[in-house]
């Protein structure tokens, strides 16, 4: 009985710690979502309300249609300066992020699969050196090469275009994709391809028809990593993009929030909208991402 109640106490305290951790992890995300559906004046009350008195979608409506929220009215006066015009750029910026990140993701999967399969199965001169070069390239701190990157992009005439970001993000993500997929292919037995090769398939055919279906979980994880890295990147996006034609989500969000006159509810809306795509991805692909991250640390 004593042992049992001791176990119960232990179980209870562990669950309590887990609950506190869950609140610590999710709390900030929930708060920004709650703030985004409050009125500006309500949000500035002291102390704030965790449950909004008058939840409203007017802030979102402003971002998408330009209709000024009535909640910014204080004693009949609009606090005009608290309306952040920039917030209206958010949908376009997220669209830019999405286009760039999706392109990087698709190219990563195609080129990464081709390259990683070669590193995993074939033998050629300079293989180990090339592989180490790929990996080593990611160990340069980005700030050291930021200016040369700018010069390259300028020389190619690509400033303020999608391809500029896509190229830079490919250089940032491909080494990881190659390394990760090489690991993954190493874990798939060669017997099946050998059979296909004996039947007269080319290397490429063996890869496409036999190996790819088996490597699907690894491919999904690699694709998601490439997407997230590109979607979340800030430093290069900040100085390679010059107009809303290419400004990405993080650039616009930081710019809105950096404006001292910014409307706090609209900052919350911008942040909430920016959060949604990676959060959906993280929840939907949770098992694959966890497995992928685990793979990357447990076998090398």
């Amino acid at each position: 009985m004593n042992v049992k109640s001791k176990d119960r106490l232990k179980n209870f305290s562990l669950n309590l710690i887990a609950l506190i951790l869950i609140i610590f992890i999710v709390g900030p995300l929930l708060w920004v979502a709650v703030a985004s559906i409050q009125g500006e004046s309500e949000l500035l009350e002291k102390p704030q309300r965790i449950i909004p008195r008058n939840p409203t979608l007017e802030n979102y409506n402003y971002v998408f249609t330009g209709e000024i929220p009535t909640t910014t009215e204080v004693k009949g006066q609009h606090i005009r300066s608290r309306i952040s015009q920039e917030a209206r750029l958010i949908p376009q910026a997220l669209k830019n992020s999405f286009i760039v990140a999706t392109s990087v993701m698709v190219i990563n999967v195609v080129l990464g699969t081709l390259g990683a399969y070669t590193f995993s199965r074939l033998h050629f001169r300079g293989k180990v050196a090339t592989f180490n070069f790929f990996l080593g390239s990611r160990l340069i701190p980005v700030i050291a090469v930021a200016i040369p990157y700018y010069v390259i992009i300028q020389t190619m005439g690509l400033l303020d275009t999608y391809p500029s970001l896509i190229l830079v993000y490919l250089a940032l993500t491909l080494p990881f994709t190659i390394w990760f997929l090489t690991l993954y292919f190493n874990g798939i037995p060669e017997d099946f391809e050998d059979a296909a090769l004996i039947d007269g398939c080319s290397r490429f055919q063996a890869l496409a028809r036999v190996v790819l279906p088996m490597a699907l979980p690894g491919l999904v994880a690699a694709a998601a990593f490439a997407f997230m890295t590109s979607y979340n990147e800030f430093l290069f996006a900040r100085f390679l993009t010059q107009s809303i034609a290419t400004h990405t989500g993080p650039v616009i969000i930081s710019s809105i929030a950096g404006n001292p006159d910014a409307s706090y509810t609209l900052i919350s809306v911008a942040m909430t909208l920016g959060l949604i795509p990676p959060l959906i991805l993280a929840l939907a692909l949770r098992r694959w991402l966890t497995e992928g991250l685990s793979t990357s640390i447990t076998f090398r």
């Binding site: 562990l14 900030p28 708060w31 102390p47 340069i140 040369p148 990157y149 390259i152 100085f239 969000i253």
Partner: protein, 309 residues
């Protein structure tokens, strides 16, 4: 029938050539992209570090030798920002390890809340660092931050605390935001390590009469050693190069109290518009991280390598 050898010979030749060049072709596109953004930029950066490049005087680039390096090492900020970087790195690396290991141990138990914890743990990791930094800046705001609101409502404080306006509190806030964002990855790494430990080892330890702490100390920790090493070196690099979070949360302030050495590389280039100084400082930082990377590769080399020639 007699024509058959003639027909297959060129085909055989072609397949032989394609067999030989296929490996090179398959890695060529990747090699081109990576080489373009690795080899040239490094040469260009090293070259620039020996010249004076002021954006305010765009047409004059005198050779200054090690002048830029001397400028940054003797600058007003160098010593202090190295100290701040050291404090920040030690605090965040220790923090993410304790947090990550704790979360991993909880996720590895059979308690009811371990599954919900596994579901939410990846969320902070998935966000843009810009957004997570703003999230915390927002929560810690001195006028309407929810943390102040909660503390006030609970009667713990009489006045709202300006967390990000005080040098010490700003550092602590930044470290907490860093742990929130980076901890999840470490937790997943530790969980992967924990799941590789066979149950029999724990059972054996139990039969030998080991207490929970003794088992942890003598069975779990030693077996997690490879994970520890990778996490320490990776997180050290992440901490030294932290940029996005500081940019949005504190801008290096108040009074440069949260300005890491990498922040000044950015400030030299984009604020002082002194490209030569900025790149020289970035190269110094690169060399510091290179030392850590060599350590990292040594650690990895002790285990099986991914490709063999």
């Amino acid at each position: 029938m007699t024509q058959q050898p003639a027909a297959t010979k060129p085909k055989h030749n072609w397949s032989y050539i394609s067999h030989k060049i296929y490996p090179y072709l398959s890695i060529l596109p990747v090699a081109v992209v990576i080489a373009l953004f690795a080899i040239y930029p490094i040469i260009h950066a090293v070259r620039m570090s020996f010249y004076q490049y002021l954006l305010t005087r765009p047409n004059v680039h005198p050779f200054v030798g090690l002048g830029n390096f001397i400028n940054v090492v003797t600058s007003y900020y160098f010593k202090e920002s190295i100290q701040i970087t050291g404090i920040y790195t030690i605090a965040t690396v220790t923090g993410v390890i304790l947090y990550g290991l704790g979360v991993a141990l909880l996720m590895n138990t059979k308690i009811r809340l371990s599954t919900p914890l596994k579901i939410v743990i990846l969320l902070p990791w998935a966000l843009p660092a810009v957004v997570s930094g703003l999230l915390w800046k927002w929560i810690l705001n001195a006028d309407f931050g929810i943390l102040n609101g909660i503390l006030y409502a609970l009667g713990l404080i009489d006045n709202y605390i300006p967390f990000l306006a005080d040098p010490t509190l700003a550092k602590i806030s930044l470290i907490m935001a860093h742990i929130w964002k980076e901890g999840p990855l470490v937790a997943i790494f530790f969980l992967a390590g924990l799941q590789l430990i066979p149950d029999e080892l724990y059972e054996a330890a139990k039969i030998d009469g080991g207490s929970g702490w003794k088992t942890f100390r003598h069975v779990t920790l030693p077996l997690l050693r490879p994970v520890f090493l990778v996490v320490i070196v990776y997180e050290t690099m992440t901490a030294i190069l932290t940029f996005d979070t500081i940019y949005v949360m504190t801008g290096g302030g108040p009074a440069n109290s949260t300005a890491l050495i990498s922040w000044f590389a950015y400030a030299e280039i984009f604020k002082s518009l002194n490209l030569g100084n900025g790149i020289a400082l970035a190269i110094i930082i690169a060399l510091i991280t290179l030392v850590l990377i060599i350590l990292y590769l040594r650690v990895l080399r002790t285990e099986e390598s991914t490709v063999s020639g």
